[in-house]
């Protein structure tokens, strides 16, 4: 990187806020998706919003792309650095600024860890609802970028449901406030479009969150089925009975084996395990739990356990939440996918995944949020065997195509990032993608914020679809096509 710019960054954030040695930069070359790696030019760790503004003003002046990074736990390469760009880590903006229990609001900086929000308000029987499996390490800023979900979003909604307001530094360094502390503010719902924009619209420096009162009673039921079809039928019947559980999770036999090997949860050895969590007033939950029990048995469940204590409930969840990491116990390498299907397509899609697995000779473990059709197929492979990684990637992409063919989505909660941007034209038409670009151009006309993610080779702002004509910004040498 140009020494003059580096000096300017150093003057802004101090010696300890700037990383530029190659050895240290390697820490930031990827996020949770480790098969994509790019070395950034520098990493900056601002301590306050003024420093973030200063950094982006320099980037804007120098036409230098930047990537914001939270805890780096993302699974789609959203925080992967871009060539010739810098990484801005928000890890030092990590204060909980305000807790307003009366109005059920918490104001945080983006580097605050998800679980720490709940930790702060749990003595008052509140919790922060979005609960991605990485919640003990992932940051609120990252959750905002990815619109993170989690097992309990079936009932409680995603990050976007719980973010009311944002302080955002736009890619030109200016500061704006979107939304606020109220449920609504007059004007466009720019908070709603910023959440889930994967760092392509700017950097959030302050987040107003909504917290939720802890329900009076929580009950977790574990049911063992012969196979996923039977468990899936039970899920359909639970929904048809008019219930909205807090969570419904399913694991197939391979996933159960892995979880068992990793965290010894003593799950039943079965073809499919269904975990149903109900919460609310005790009398209501007890009545519904009986219905879930009956529905499960009717659909072939041969063993049903209900966690009797908070400790037992924690053990049940431990296996589910550790499922991704547990794959390391049964396979040297694996790819996690995040496709979504209309839940009713589950039997067909599971059959197809099994067929593709057989044909490719690669094992696929399945963990999914059964209530909302969000699949997490884990394609297992061994990188040391020639050709297996490519075969696993091909199988993984084919599974996403299956999801699209079933009327679903390529991602339910991990984001598009670097990994799935090539799939976007399979899900959306050219006019759909072009319309999304209009939004991006309003926020970031020079395309400096995480420019290579989400969209495949996006046009420059102001460029019309059709035959390629160089944009004036290109011909002036102010920007280049990636």
């Amino acid at each position: 990187m140009n020494q003059r710019i580096l000096d300017e960054f150093r003057a802004l954030v101090g010696e300890r806020g700037l990383i530029s040695s190659v050895e240290e930069l390697h820490t930031y070359e990827c996020d949770g998706l480790t098969n994509f790696r790019v070395l950034p030019q520098a990493v900056l760790l601002p301590r306050n919003v003024e420093q973030v503004q200063g950094i982006l003003q320099i980037c804007h002046r120098e036409r230098m792309p930047f990537v914001a990074r939270g805890s780096g736990t993302g699974l789609s390469g959203g925080a992967l650095p871009v060539e010739n760009g810098i990484v801005i880590s928000l890890a030092r903006l990590n204060r909980i600024l305000e807790v307003d229990l009366e109005n059920a609001r918490v104001v945080v900086e983006p580097g605050v860890i998800n679980l720490d929000v709940t930790g702060r308000v749990s003595p008052n029987q509140f919790f922060y609802a979005p609960d991605p499996s990485s919640q003990s390490v992932c940051s609120i800023g990252g959750n905002v970028a990815e619109n993170s979900g989690g097992a309990h979003c079936l009932k409680y909604g995603f990050t976007t449901t719980h973010v009311l307001g944002l302080e955002v530094v736009l890619p030109d360094g200016s500061l704006v406030h979107l939304g606020g502390r109220m449920l609504e503010t007059p004007g466009y719902d720019l908070t709603g479009v910023f959440v889930g924009s994967e760092g392509t619209l700017g950097i959030a420096t302050k987040v107003v969150l909504r917290i939720v009162k802890r329900p009076e009673c929580i009950r977790t039921l574990l049911a063992a089925f012969p196979a996923t079809n039977e468990a899936g039928a039970a899920v359909s019947d639970i929904i048809a009975a008019g219930m909205l559980p807090a969570a419904m999770e399913m694991m197939d036999n391979l996933a159960i084996q892995a979880a068992e090997a990793a965290v010894q949860t003593n799950y039943p050895d079965c073809g499919a395990l269904l975990l149903v969590e109900l919460d609310g007033p005790t009398a209501e939950v007890e009545a519904l739990m009986q219905e879930v029990d009956a529905i499960s048995r009717k659909n072939g469940a041969w063993e049903i356990r209900v966690a009797q204590t908070e400790a037992e409930r924690a053990v049940v969840w431990k296996g589910r939440k550790a499922a991704f990491a547990a794959m390391g116990r049964i396979s040297p390498n694996y790819i996690v996918q995040d496709g979504v299907i209309p839940r009713t397509a589950l039997p067909h899609v599971m059959e197809e995944i099994a067929r593709l697995s057989r044909e490719s000779g690669l094992r696929v473990a399945n963990v999914f949020h059964a209530g909302d059709g969000n699949l997490h197929p884990l394609v297992l492979y061994d990188r040391r065997i020639a050709g297996q990684e490519a075969a696993a990637e091909a199988l993984s992409s084919r599974i996403l195509e299956l999801c699209l063919e079933a009327g679903g989505s390529i991602t339910g909660e991990h984001g598009v990032g670097e990994e799935k941007k090539h799939m976007m034209p399979k899900m959306f038409s050219e006019p759909d993608l072009e319309t999304m670009q209009r939004l991006r151009c309003a926020f970031d006309p020079l395309r400096l914020a995480n420019p290579t993610k989400v969209f495949p080779t996006p046009r420059l702002c102001g460029e019309k679809p059709g035959e390629y004509v160089p944009h004036p910004v290109e011909t002036a040498g102010l920007a280049e096509r990636f």
């Binding site: 009366e102 466009y188 899900m427």
Partner: protein
């Protein structure tokens, strides 16, 4: 008032001659155009955009006067022919519906499978999906089920340049691409015309129970409301009804199995003490009644504050109304969203509303005027703009650079 003949002919060739007609005398538009398909709607927009004509999209026409008066109005784009429920995938808890479908028709279709869109909007017999989305009209169920932004999962919009674009999808969980369904929800049709929407549905609850209680004054009422909010009760709705006539009542709605409802009733007694009684379901129509028994000179506004400001907002309302001798009514939800009506001769009512707006804005809230007398001096119905207004204008510029759609009706003159 007419539009150029060549444009009129173009419009007739797009939608059919009988689907282009003169506008009613009370409308500012010159012509009414009723497309029968999404493509026709997009083509009408492109035609208007190229000709520099302004378009006012219309659903059921129930909220056509919300927002500021448009700066220009040429074509009233009626979406009433796009009225189909496209697909109710009940087992997947989703429904795809055209924008011109009325809420009642949608709910009737969903009810056949024991489901509903968990939203109680104004005038469901007439109000359409597109209109409800564009005006972001939600009701008391918002407390439990969220607002439209939480229920919509996919949208198709027609843009002024004729583009038809889809965003989101038909699965409940989906983070692929930008969330344009949220962008157009509440945008008052200033970015594009919604042609279809996909929603998540909820089961119709097996039972419900409405309970009510009183309080001697606003502060005591707020304390009770906050105590319920701060409890582990699982209420679906909670509102305060107040009026100059002295009424000050609250309604609580519970939904669920009978055993659960009985337990909730007991818990409510424990939380707020004596005075809880069964209440009439009709209390939930209080918001709509603000319009139903309004007079020509009434001013109706939506006020949004944080929940702990409910009492102070009602106090302000009471005192400014008393100073000008006005009667008033208010319905305030526990979420901090409320609707107020002031009745009295002009300009007293509007000046009073301005004072309430100042108090709300001073604490980060807002007040939007939804109805005021035709004779009134123009007053911006949206109030102060935030520092994001230039970003909003940039978004408008990208989607509707010629300001074809509802010019001037939205926030900050957008």
């Amino acid at each position: 008032m007419t539009i150029p003949q060549a444009i009129d002919e173009q419009l007739r060739s797009i939608v059919g001659a009988q689907r282009v007609s003169g506008a009613p005398a009370d409308m500012r538009c010159k012509v009414v155009v009723s497309p029968g398909t999404e493509k026709e709607a997009a083509a009408v927009l492109a035609c208007a955009d190229q000709a520099g004509l302004a378009v006012i999209p219309q659903g059921g026409g129930t909220k056509l006067r919300w927002g500021n008066p448009p700066e220009r109005a040429d074509i009233l784009l009626s979406m009433s022919r796009l009225d189909r429920v496209i697909e109710h995938a009940w087992a997947d808890l989703t429904v795809a519906v055209e924008a011109g479908c009325t809420m009642q028709n949608l709910q009737d279709t969903l009810a056949k499978q024991g489901q509903r869109l968990a939203l109680d909007c104004l005038w469901p017999q007439k109000a359409t999906v597109g209109g409800i989305l564009s005006t972001n009209d939600s009701g008391v169920l918002r407390l439990r089920y969220g607002a439209l932004r939480d229920l919509i999962i996919g949208v198709t919009i027609a843009l002024p340049d004729g583009t038809l674009a889809t965003s989101g999808g038909k699965v409940v969980k989906n983070v692929a691409g930008y969330d344009l369904p949220k962008l157009v929800t509440g945008a008052l049709g200033t970015l594009g015309v919604i042609t279809r929407a996909i929603f998540r549905t909820h089961p119709v609850c097996s039972g419900s129970l409405t309970l009510g209680f009183n309080a001697p004054d606003f502060q005591a009422m707020q304390e009770k409301v906050l105590a319920i909010q701060n409890s582990q009760l699982a209420h679906a709705a909670l509102q305060i009804r107040a009026s100059r006539a002295g009424g000050l009542e609250a309604d609580v709605l519970f939904e669920g199995r009978i055993a659960g409802l009985q337990a909730q009733e007991k818990r409510l007694h424990a939380v707020i003490g004596a005075g809880v009684a069964s209440a009439d379901h009709r209390g939930w129509r209080a918001k709509e009644d603000l319009w139903n028994d309004a007079r020509a000179e009434s001013v109706i506004a939506k006020v949004i504050v944080i929940p702990a400001m409910l009492a102070r907002t009602l106090e302000t309302l009471k005192s400014v109304a008393a100073a000008k001798g006005l009667t008033w009514k208010a319905v305030m939800q526990a979420t901090g969203i409320g609707w107020i009506r002031m009745d009295g001769t002009e300009p007293g009512a509007l000046a009073s509303v301005a004072e309430i707006r100042n108090a709300a804005e001073a604490n980060g809230g807002s007040l939007t005027i939804l109805q005021c007398p035709a004779s009134t001096e123009p007053m911006d119905c949206w109030g102060a703009t935030a520092d994001s207004i230039s970003l909003m204008r940039a978004v408008k510029q990208q989607f509707d650079p010629k300001r074809t759609l509802n010019p001037g009706r939205f926030v900050g003159g957008i």
